[in-house]
């Protein structure tokens, strides 16, 4: 049972401006569970997308059972038996379990005119027996729990005769007992010779279910080790690396300044649990954590973009009710989404409209007419103050680069006089030169007395910019670090605290 199912060698992948994968390798035996680990952005997903035909490699070879294969699209990968179970499930909720599994390949009767539901159910039953799964195939997917839906996804993959399954964070949304069920099925599949790639951040699960671990960092292959022979500490140091990033820490600590924002006992379903935090004047508060830890959800909850179940928000010591973003903005809170094109600016409008959109009320002449001259003036002021690279303020925002779009969004909140700014991944998708400019801007804003919450997945960025760092894991704050005691290792420990 140690025949090689997959051998990937010398895989290179370049995206415009970024070398995403540099000489990466990965292999998989039949009947093993192989963990793929690394920080956010280490290249795990890119490598697996190449294996499942979503992306095309620029160089390197992929061999399937000793034969070189070209996987030019997801269908091609599926045809040779490689399937991916995605984090977000791709099922049609209003169809039944059986209909979902055989969607596009429905068994038909003679003449192919009518569907053969009996054959459909028979095939699904066989499949479920093979997986050791007890589920009624005629029930609608929308009535299943997320865990059960995931089982359906796995069944669907197996129905394509998959012998390589890639699972991306399969336990992210599962409860303890559901995880047990999943592991039972994974073990059963392993017995039957299926090879499973298991992407996860959860160390305890990795230890329990996997046979080998491959670690990646910054688009590079680092090491492959046997799970039985490695310690958690080893894995973390391999993921973080010994490389010391060039950081210039903030010169001052926030110390005993005035508290501008307080969040007390905030809860939101399964995503946020008992969040407490304080933000001081002139402070940059970093929020670190892995993908799915609930950082964006926290930002959106404070900003009123999503409803909260319980909890209190105080601004300048006063309890406030935030029913929607317009209430938050009235309290001087501005939110800068990581997805600027969708949630940050209205890209079809020009620079001046985007700068003014949160504050039109203050640009009105008597009678409700807009004072276009003052809007223009304000926009031009922001463009020069924030050094936005745009030919003029009538330029539509969609023609600006990511960094300049970010500056326009900053200009929007400065125009509104917001003194609490929540930046969600402020430098995502921004090139290196513009990044340092955004950093300088954030420092300037803090120095001018603005208070900043900065969510970031880039540890060097968090370490370099923050006065204080909160680390989140699975919807909770698992620790607070002063910028002096914070290191990549200490953050990673807290970020996986509830998983260890």
């Amino acid at each position: 049972m140690s025949e090689w199912l997959i051998q990937m060698e010398g895989i290179m992948k370049e995206f415009p401006g970024v070398l995403a994968l540099n000489d990466c390798r990965f292999d998989l035996r039949a009947g093993e569970v192989h963990a793929l680990m690394g920080e956010n952005g280490a290249g795990k997903s890119t490598l697996m997308k190449i294996l499942t035909g979503v992306y095309q490699k620029d160089a390197g070879t992929i061999e399937l059972k000793g034969q070189p294969v070209e996987l030019s699209n997801p269908k091609a990968a599926q045809d040779v038996g490689i399937s991916m179970i995605h984090q977000e499930l791709n099922l049609a909720p209003d169809l039944t379990v059986a209909q979902n599994i055989f969607i596009g390949r429905e068994p038909r009767r003679k003449l192919r005119l009518f569907l053969d539901d009996r054959a459909l159910h028979r095939q699904v039953k066989e499949l479920f027996e093979r997986m050791g799964l007890d589920m009624d195939p005629s029930i609608k997917v929308s009535e299943l729990t997320v865990a059960k839906q995931q089982m359906v996804e796995i069944a669907k993959a197996l129905s394509y005769n998959a012998d390589v399954l890639v699972m991306d964070e399969p336990t992210a949304a599962l409860s303890e007992t559901e995880i047990e069920d999943l592991f039972r099925i994974i073990r059963q599949l392993r017995e039957s010779g299926v090879g499973i790639v298991y992407i996860s951040h959860r160390m305890d699960e990795i230890k329990r279910i996997t046979d080998r671990i491959t670690v990646m960092r910054d688009g590079q292959y680092i090491d492959t080790v046997s799970t039985a022979e490695v310690t958690t500490q080893d894995i973390i140091s391999k993921m973080v690396g010994r490389q010391i990033y060039e950081t210039s820490k903030p010169e001052r600590t926030a110390g005993e300044r005035e508290t501008v924002l307080e969040v007390i006992g905030l809860n939101q379903g399964r995503t946020l649990k008992d969040i407490n935090l304080t933000l001081k004047k002139g402070e940059i508060l970093g929020i670190a954590g892995l993908v799915g830890a609930g950082r964006t959800e926290l930002a959106r909850a404070i900003f009123g973009a999503d409803r909260i179940q319980s909890g209190e928000i105080r601004v300048h010591g006063r309890k406030v009710t935030i029913k929607g973003p317009h209430d938050a903005v009235r309290q001087g809170i501005g939110y800068l989404s990581e997805d600027r094109k969708r949630y940050g600016c209205v890209v079809d409008l020009d620079v001046k409209s985007n700068v003014a959109i949160a504050s039109y009320g203050s640009f009105l002449r008597p009678g409700g007419w807009m004072n276009t001259a003052r809007i223009r003036e304000q926009a031009e002021d922001m463009v020069s103050r924030l050094k936005v690279k745009t030919p003029h303020v009538d330029q539509e925002v969609k023609f600006l680069s990511g960094g300049n779009q970010q500056k326009v969004v900053i200009g929007k909140w400065l125009t509104r006089d917001c003194d609490i700014l929540i930046f969600d991944e402020p430098t995502r998708g921004i090139d290196v030169g513009a990044k340092s400019e955004i950093y300088r801007l954030l420092n300037d804003l803090a120095a001018q007395g603005k208070s900043i919450i900065m969510i970031s997945s880039e540890l060097p960025e968090i370490l370099r910019m923050s006065h204080r760092i909160l680390v989140m894991c699975e919807g909770r704050i698992t620790g607070e670090l002063d910028h002096e005691e914070a290191s990549q290792e200490s953050i990673m420990h807290l970020a996986t605290a509830r998983m260890l």
């Binding site: 929607g324 973003p325 938050a328 501005g334 600016c345 079809d348 409008l349 007419w369």
Partner: protein, 322 residues
């Protein structure tokens, strides 16, 4: 300098050019077409649909739709009749009552859309039926005549221009249409309503996250559409010197057609008032010209259908290139 401004201008030039080509075509085809009286007739027949289309433009730019404008127009006319004929109120109060009726209907549709989250198509379909039924109930299913208030007919049929400049006998309805268009243009390009209108249509979520109370502004926009609809109802009633509760259904589709021919996108975020004016003119020039060429009415409708396909396809081609 700016590609987008150029292409926006191009869109209007394109629509205007089609209108000019149509006018030239009919002028050369029939000597009866380019006569003062016929041109005035075209403008007059554009006026009511035009005002409806102007109102619809606002909602369509948000990415929504208002199917109720036809019957709300009827209901507004009937309410004007109720005010003037049944209650004997002064004519200006009756006019105001009609406009407010339209605005109230818009307010209700807007509330259903933004607070109850009912899709605009459904919410305004329901309003279409409600207004139709109410118009019949209130009027007793009979036309309401304005015989006791002779000045009311003057609202549409009189000619202030003709009184100012002898010989220039352009009916007031046409003048009201152009004033409404200017008002619409100012609202859309110079006020906060217009700016949020485009912002909502382009990216509602980003607008919401900018702290704009999108629910409130949606209601404002539907109410505005309703007010224009109410005005159209008053104009219609004045022109016929009666409010006929059986008229009006189907007008909403002609209004939407005019908006679309004028280059406003049904997916929201794009559109102009000038485009809508031109769109409405293209529709009535076509109908009028074809009638003069003795094309049977059934075929006129078929031609208008094809023109809608052509206009929108030309717009799609242009966007694809840009």
């Amino acid at each position: 300098m700016n590609i987008q401004i150029k292409s926006g201008a191009l869109q209007q030039v394109l629509a205007l050019a089609s209108l000019v080509v149509l006018v030239l075509f009919f002028t050369f085809s029939s000597s009866n077409f380019f006569q003062f009286s016929n041109i005035v007739g075209i403008l007059l027949s554009t006026a009511v649909i035009g005002v409806l289309a102007l109102g619809s433009t606002f909602v369509i730019i948000t990415g929504g739709i208002d199917l109720s404008v036809g019957t709300v127009m009827t209901l507004s006319g009937v309410m004007t009749g109720v005010c003037i004929t049944f209650w004997g109120l002064p004519v200006p109060v009756g006019i105001l009552g009609g406009i407010l009726t339209g605005a109230l209907c818009g307010l209700l549709s807007g509330t259903a859309v933004s607070k109850m989250k009912i899709p605009p198509f459904i919410a305004t379909l329901a309003m279409m039926m409600i207004a139709k039924g109410l118009a019949l109930i209130i009027s007793g299913a009979k036309p309401v005549y304005f015989n006791d208030a002779e000045s009311f007919a003057e609202v549409s049929q009189g000619s202030v221009l003709g009184w100012l400049v002898p010989g220039l006998d352009i009916p007031n309805a046409v003048v009201i249409f152009f004033i409404a268009a200017i008002l619409g243009y100012l609202i859309l390009s110079k006020t906060i309503i217009g700016r949020y209108n485009f912002a909502l249509g382009s990216n509602e979520e980003a607008t919401r996250l900018s702290g704009v109370n999108v629910g409130f502004w949606k209601i404002v926009i539907y109410t505005l559409t309703g007010a224009f609809t109410g005005l159209a109802g008053v104009m219609m009633a004045s022109r016929l010197n009666s409010a006929n509760p059986a008229l009006g259904a189907g007008y909403e589709l002609e209004a939407i057609a005019a908006v679309v021919i004028g280059g406003t996108s049904l997916s929201g975020g794009k559109g102009t008032i000038i485009g809508t004016v031109i769109g409405a003119l293209i529709m009535s020039v076509l109908t009028n010209g074809l009638r003069i060429l003795s094309v049977p009415q059934e075929w006129q409708t078929v031609v208008v259908g094809f023109v809608i396909i052509l206009a929108v396809y030309a717009d799609i081609l242009r966007r694809r290139k840009a």
